[in-house]
């Protein structure tokens, strides 16, 4: 049984991506029982084994996807203590650090904890691993994200522009004010170019863990002037139910045949959709035993079957593009 904790935008996308397989038993929990029941009813035709459940019933699942708003660490700890594997979609630095600290507990309980299985982080790690195969060695990764998923993601985006960004630079973690370091980043069509700024994003932390050989890792997020001006104030206007078309851009630098090479891959899709499909595919891999190792992992790590997971993500309709020079 696969459990889904949270039936918002990401949670419903996880359920949709898993419901394609009628053999998988899915249990959905949400703090609002009506929302979980509505989602289960909607997908009941495609998967007769989906049901809304209570929080305690999730303890009987083999793996649970945490698709609600952060923090995920307390819930993950609760689940790991009951030998349940966890897939977290958290994109909050402090929460990701707290989740990484649960590695020992996961090992002790012989459970798997996958951290940052969303769009960025998550899909970014899968793309870096995929693109790194065409290099002899890679030493730089630069990530840019455009758009938001549900309201919780939009709030996190708002917070990300007001904190401190972290980046790995030649052997040390550099802290810079979020909202600085403007860079024009090109995303796959139909998105085009957006100004992106440093943000308080966990990507550098998790990418560096998956690829220890890297000497530089940065992460940026797109923002308008209004986003940057109001970032340090409370969110005055409530976020929309779901953000529009989003994008992810992954730039990898390294060497190939003794030459310096830069490759860029990207995704143009709703951020919530990417996050839901990625976390759903990771949960399915744990459920069927493709990921059997215990401990804490991040996507892109060589211990995980990244190629299989990326293949499943692409097969579920998320389109990745690589930039080709004329």
């Amino acid at each position: 049984m696969i459990g889904i904790f949270g039936a918002g935008v990401v949670g419903s996308r996880v359920a949709e991506s898993l419901s394609g397989d009628p053999q998988i038993q899915i249990s959905v929990y949400d703090s609002s029982q009506v929302v979980a029941q509505r989602l289960a009813r909607r997908l009941h035709e495609t998967n007769g084994l989906i049901q809304a459940t209570s929080r305690t019933e999730l303890f009987g699942a083999k793996v649970v996807v945490l698709a609600g708003s952060s923090p995920h660490a307390p819930v993950a700890k609760e689940l790991l203590e009951r030998d349940v594997s966890v897939v977290s979609t958290s994109d909050d630095i402090a929460d990701c650090l707290n989740l990484l600290a649960l590695s020992e507990l996961a090992n002790k309980k012989k459970a798997t904890l996958v951290i940052g299985a969303a769009s960025s982080p998550g899909m970014s790690g899968l793309l870096v691993r995929n693109i790194s195969k065409s290099f002899d060695s890679i030493d730089e990764v630069h990530i840019a994200l455009h758009g938001t998923g549900g309201p919780a993601c939009a709030r996190q985006h708002h917070r990300a522009l007001s904190g401190q960004s972290i980046g790995w630079h030649d052997g040390e973690w550099l802290r810079r004010p979020a909202g600085s370091g403007r860079e024009l980043c090109w995303f796959p069509e139909p998105l085009g170019a957006y100004d992106c700024y440093r943000g308080e994003l966990p990507d550098p932390l998790l990418i560096k863990r998956a690829f220890p050989e890297l000497s530089r890792v940065t992460a940026r997020v797109s923002a308008t002037r209004r986003d940057r001006v109001f970032a340090r104030m409370p969110m005055l206007i409530p976020p929309r139910a779901e953000g529009g078309m989003g994008g992810l851009r992954v730039e990898v630098r390294g060497t190939k045949n003794g030459e310096r090479v830069v490759d860029v891959v990207g995704v143009a899709e709703r951020v919530g959709q990417v996050a839901g499909v990625v976390s759903g595919c990771v949960a399915r891999s744990i459920s069927v035993g493709e990921i059997a190792q215990s401990g804490a992992f991040v996507l892109g790590e060589s211990a995980l079957p990244n190629e299989i997971i990326l293949g499943q993500v692409l097969a579920r309709g998320v389109q990745a593009h690589s930039f080709v020079r004329a």
């Binding site: 995929n130 891959v265 990207g266 293949g311 097969a315 593009h321 690589s322 930039f323 020079r325």
Partner: protein
């Protein structure tokens, strides 16, 4: 009165310049060199 007239003149010149830059500026167009190619499932 003189000050007001000067302020209005400065404002109108500033808006004319901003308008020219906004509508006649080059801006960011489509990618001229290269493009995006879909990555297919490699299985």
């Amino acid at each position: 009165m003189k000050l007001l007239r000067r302020a209005l003149l400065a404002l109108s010149v500033a808006s004319a310049v901003a308008g020219v830059l906004r509508f006649k500026g080059k801006g960011v167009g489509a990618i001229k060199q290269g493009g995006w190619r879909k990555i297919t499932d490699q299985k």
